[in-house]
């Protein structure tokens, strides 16, 4: 897999355990969000992601072989969304409860 290819699951905003229907629903939702005339680059990413995931065999091959051992270590940060994630109120309140 090309190290510059975004993770198709992230592009469509779904989990790896998503089934065919969920993948299709996510694809249609993303199409509405990124129509080709207004967001051509994002549209292409969404379309490529769907092409990869809608075929069961290609999806399975992606699950198994997509990891790129030669990818720079910094690229691992991008995939884990390490940058200031929204944690919800729980973890913040847990700290506030302490004296």
């Amino acid at each position: 897999m090309n190290q510059n290819t975004p993770d198709p699951y992230r592009v469509l905003g779904i989990e790896q355990s998503a089934e065919d229907e969920q993948i299709r629903a996510a694809y249609l939702a993303k199409l509405k969000q990124f129509p080709p005339d207004r967001a051509p680059e994002e549209f292409e990413q969404v379309r490529d992601a769907y092409d990869l995931l809608r075929d069961r065999r290609r999806r399975a091959r992606h699950t198994l072989f997509s990891i790129n051992p030669e990818a720079p270590l910094e690229s691992l940060l991008d995939s884990t969304d390490t940058q200031r994630r929204f944690a919800g109120p729980g973890p913040w309140l847990a700290v506030l409860k302490e004296r």
């Binding site: 065999r57 399975a60 198994l64 051992p69 390490t82 919800g88 109120p89 004296r99």
Partner: protein, 950 residues
């Protein structure tokens, strides 16, 4: 008797010894009394209580206060209780001690216990309750019972101090905004409730996702509200997520230090990528792990790690790993594990000792499915072939762990795809490596070391893959592997499994047809063909196979002289649809002629011959008949009229031959081409009005190749290249027809043909060329193997043009010339070097004489002292040397073998012994075996011959 105690004597009574002597119980009494006194003194010393007085001593009070200040509330309370027992003046002290105890319990999170203590105080010291208000409020706050705490605020006439006290409490203690917004002791429109509600909603929104600036306006919260710090906190969180660090800092600075939101200030420092000296709580660590900005601290550390890995030096790698470990301390555990896994695997590939790298990373990575998957992929990308073998083994480990971790189900689609991948990995390994690894496994078992790392079995994995995911491509891979490795029974089993799994696929049936045909099981072959026809009657392979099988059946009947059966076959053959007009009819007529020969029916022979010649012409008829006679082992050549080439026009000969070749190709017959026709055919090809087109010429060329007529095949390629059409196929033909010593031209033609086929996207031709490159073939007398590296060697357009230009010029079949090197050969490229040494290095056959350095023109003095330096230089590869020595050994007599054995037993090495027996000990490069230079006998003086004659 006198009493012991004085009565009314205020001044005491003198105790005499007589008392004691007379009253043993008194003695005991006194003893006990004084001992009790002593204990009281001791107790008084430790508690600081004046054991003797009822009033509180200042130091006692001081002691209790000190304990309270030092947060030893339990000891302070106990002491205060003791003092209170002595004197009620200690009540205040006791209440203070109770309060300190409750505060300590609350700080330890023991609100229930604190509540119990409060209950005791309320019961015993109701007057002291006003002093417990703060603690009571805290307990209420912990219980979520803010109603009581804030209830006084509903009174508009509440004293300012009291209002302030409550607001301070809210600012410093209330962390549950939702509870505050829901208190029933205040009216719904109360500013505090409204503010709390707005803040609770805003806090939820800002921690769950991006919010608009308008949502952060929070007009309901005034600057003087006890909840003002919350407003600042919410705006700070919003700025943090928008990466507006400056704004975030400004908002954090406005948060009151004693407020509840101030508890988040240390975490904010770390989340923004800065260091903090103070120790963080588990809740803070968790928040930082989830919401912190790890990229800011990790990126530099990872960049340094990447640089160290590229340096491939151990110390920088270990130092960088420690840096990554430190930088990732606050990160999510999953991210840390991922980093650890990648760094450990990459370091392992560079042979960094695992214990060292694991220690630097703060621990070894978990050997889970993710780890094995990464390791397997990394091994696959290695340049050396052993890496792929190891990858296959590691994929097995991945599968085991992935099934445990429920990545996929056993026998499912993903399992099938994985199994196929593993099978293909092992199937593509060199045989020598597989053999070596299998031997190692056996050796492990024999030594009792278990099985060790086992190479997966392709057969098992192919079967698993095809069972889990029945797919044509998977079955085709399996079949291809079985063809190379297994017996025909194994291959047929695979084809049968394919057929049953995918009944709509025609490929397995075609394979079974061919397999049965090769074994001459024509009946079985035809039964498979029948099934293939049901699937796709018009398939070209099916149609060709039908014709071929029927023909083979008839020929067998003819060879068995069963003419009646042959006739049945001919009738069936004749009913086949024509591909080219008249071909089937001609074939049927030719076969009928053979039947007539078997039956001895000359009239029928003549009739069928006439039919045949009318259909395809004399030349084609002749070729067809001699071919069928050969195939059916009938000896009736004398019955055939000969074709006199001297009379036949060259072009007629050519067209007739081509027609026969086309028929032969359709029928799967290898036509016999009389060698005496070659010259005429070649001459006809060069005639300006030659009617044969490129496709027909290629068929003729292939037939010539199969007939071992290289000159004719070469001529076809020459004419074809001159015409300039389908150059790829003519180059391919030429490459196969060139003699082995013309290796450079052969490689050039093959490479050019492959390149042209790729450019034309002619996948059929590409497949044929690649199959040819991977086969070992015979070329004349010599076994020859094409260099499969040709397939991956790129060739530029300039090189291609040069090859075509030169090959077009070389129209004549080449005659051996040692110094012949085509102009297009790349002399700088060792792959194209044709010298004996380079050919030997590539594992190709080299005439041993070519490796001889001797110049035959020079005088050879067998008495010359031959040193080691004379045998320096490249020698044939070891396998070749071994083969040659084995050949020599085979040729030895029994006596020579016994002599050699005696010398070996005496201590000579085998080669020295062989040399002594066979060569008399000459010419060995071994210094120990070098013969001493014998003195040359002096020639007789000329004069001495004639002495005595004069």
């Amino acid at each position: 008797m006198q009493t012991l105690l004085p009565s009314g004597n205020e001044q005491g009574v003198e105790v005499t010894n007589a008392w004691i002597e007379q009253l043993p119980s008194a003695q005991l009494f006194l003893k006990r009394y004084f001992m009790a006194k002593k204990q009281d003194k001791k107790n008084a010393r430790s508690s600081g209580v004046n054991p003797s007085g009822a009033a509180l001593l200042p130091e006692e009070v001081e002691r209790v206060r000190l304990l309270i200040v030092e947060r030893h509330s339990k000891a302070a309370l106990q002491l205060a209780k003791d003092l209170f027992k002595r004197s009620s003046a200690a009540e205040d002290l006791l209440v203070d001690a109770y309060r300190a105890r409750m505060e300590d319990l609350l700080s330890l999170g023991m609100a229930v216990e604190a509540k119990t203590v409060l209950g005791i105080v309320r019961e015993r010291f109701p007057a002291a309750l006003p002093r417990m208000v703060k603690v009571e409020q805290e307990i209420c706050a912990r219980d979520g019972r803010l109603d009581q705490v804030v209830a006084p605020l509903a009174d508009a006439s509440l004293a300012v101090e009291e209002r302030e006290r409550i607001e301070i409490f809210i600012r410093q203690r209330v962390h549950d905004l939702s509870a505050l917004a829901a208190v029933t002791s205040l009216p719904q429109e109360h500013p505090l409730r409204v503010a709390a509600g707005a803040l609770a909603a805003a806090f939820q929104a800002v921690t769950e996702g991006p919010v608009d600036q308008a949502a952060l306006a929070l007009q309901e919260v005034s600057r003087r509200s006890p909840l003002a710090s919350w407003k600042a906190l919410i705006r700070a969180i919003a700025s943090y997520h928008r990466r507006e660090d400056e704004a975030c800092s400004q908002w954090l600075r406005t948060i009151a230090e004693d407020s509840v939101p101030a508890r988040l200030l240390p975490a904010f420092v770390v989340m923004r990528g800065k260091k903090l000296e103070a120790k963080l709580s588990p809740a803070e660590h968790k928040l930082i792990a989830i919401a912190g900005d790890h990229a800011a601290t990790l990126r530099p550390a990872l960049a340094a790690m990447e640089k160290a890995l590229h340096s491939k030096k151990q110390k920088p790698i270990l130092d960088a790993a420690r840096g990554v470990n430190a930088a990732s301390e606050s990160c999510d555990a999953r991210l840390r594990e991922r980093l650890r896994r990648h760094i450990a695997v990459r370091s392992g590939m560079l042979r960094i000792p695992p214990p060292s790298i694991n220690a630097a990373l703060g621990g070894a990575p978990r050997w889970d499915a993710s780890y094995f998957r990464l390791l397997a992929r990394t091994l696959e990308e290695q340049q050396f072939v052993e890496g792929r073998a190891e990858a296959a083994i590691v994929w097995e480990d991945f599968r085991r762990e992935a099934l445990k971790e429920n990545w996929f189900a056993a026998g499912g689609l993903v399992d099938g795809i994985l199994s196929l991948h593993m099978a293909q990995l092992v199937a593509n390994l060199p045989d020598e490596l597989v053999e070596e690894m299998r031997e190692r496994e056996v050796s492990y078992r024999k030594q009792g070391l278990g099985s060790g790392p086992c190479l997966p079995s392709p057969a098992v994995h192919f079967e698993r893959a095809c069972t889990a995911d029945p797919h044509s491509e998977s079955f085709q891979s399996w079949l291809n592997w079985a063809v190379k490795r297994g017996s025909w029974q194994v291959v047929d089993q695979v084809a049968e499994k394919w057929r049953h799994a995918l009944p709509g696929d025609i490929q397995p049936l075609l394979h079974l047809v061919e397999s049965a045909e090769k074994r001459n099981a024509f009946k079985k072959s035809l039964s498979y063909l029948e099934q293939a026809e049901k699937l796709d009657r018009l398939n070209p392979a099916v149609r060709r196979a039908k014709l071929r099988l029927l023909l083979a059946t008839v020929l067998r009947h003819l060879s068995q002289r069963k003419s009646h059966l042959a006739q049945g076959g001919i009738a069936e053959l004749a009913s086949l649809p024509e591909v080219r007009s008249g071909e089937i009819a001609a074939l049927a007529a030719a076969l009928s002629w053979c039947v007539a020969v078997v039956d001895g029916d000359k009239a029928a022979c003549a009739a069928e011959l006439n039919n045949l010649e009318q259909g395809v012409g004399k030349v084609a008829a002749h070729l067809l008949l001699i071919t069928l006679l050969r195939e059916s082992t009938l000896s009736a050549l004398k019955d055939l009229p000969q074709v006199k080439i001297s009379r036949a026009a060259a072009l007629d000969l050519l067209t007739g031959t081509v027609r026969a070749c086309l028929l032969g190709e359709s029928a799967g017959l290898v036509l016999m081409l009389p060698s005496e026709w070659d010259k005429t055919l070649i001459a006809a090809l060069y005639l300006p009005n030659c009617p044969v087109d490129a496709a027909q010429m290629l068929v003729l060329g292939e037939a010539a190749l199969l007939n071992n007529s290289p000159e004719l095949a070469y001529a076809v390629s020459s004419v074809g290249l001159l015409q300039g059409k389908v150059n790829a196929r003519f180059l391919f033909l030429r490459a196969r027809v060139l003699p082995g010593w013309a290796r450079l031209r052969l490689v050039g033609c093959m490479s050019a043909a492959l390149e042209l086929a790729r450019r034309e996207r002619n996948t059929v031709l590409i497949g044929k060329i690649l199959d040819c490159l991977n086969e070992t073939g015979k070329r004349g007398r010599l076994a020859y193997r094409y260099d499969p590296r040709i397939a991956s060697k790129p060739i530029s357009s300039e090189q291609l043009d040069r090859i075509l230009e030169e090959e077009r010029k070389l129209e004549q079949f080449p005659i051996y010339e040692a110094s012949q090197i085509p102009k297009f050969a790349l002399e700088d490229d060792p792959d194209f070097c044709d010298c004996p040494e380079c050919r030997a290095q590539r594992g190709e056959w080299v005439d041993p004489d070519e490796l001889d350095d001797f110049d035959e023109d020079e005088d050879f003095d067998e008495d010359d002292d031959l040193g080691d330096e004379d045998f320096d230089g490249p020698m044939p590869p070891p396998e070749m040397m071994r083969g040659m020595l084995e050949q020599v050994l085979k040729m030895l007599s029994a006596k020579q073998k016994r002599q050699i054995q005696r010398l070996v037993d005496a201590g000579d090495d085998p080669l020295t012994a062989m040399d002594k027996v066979i060569n008399g000990g000459l010419s060995m490069p071994d210094a120990a075996a070098k013969k001493a230079k014998a003195a040359k006998p002096t020639p007789p003086q000329q004069g001495s011959l004639f002495e005595g004659i004069r």
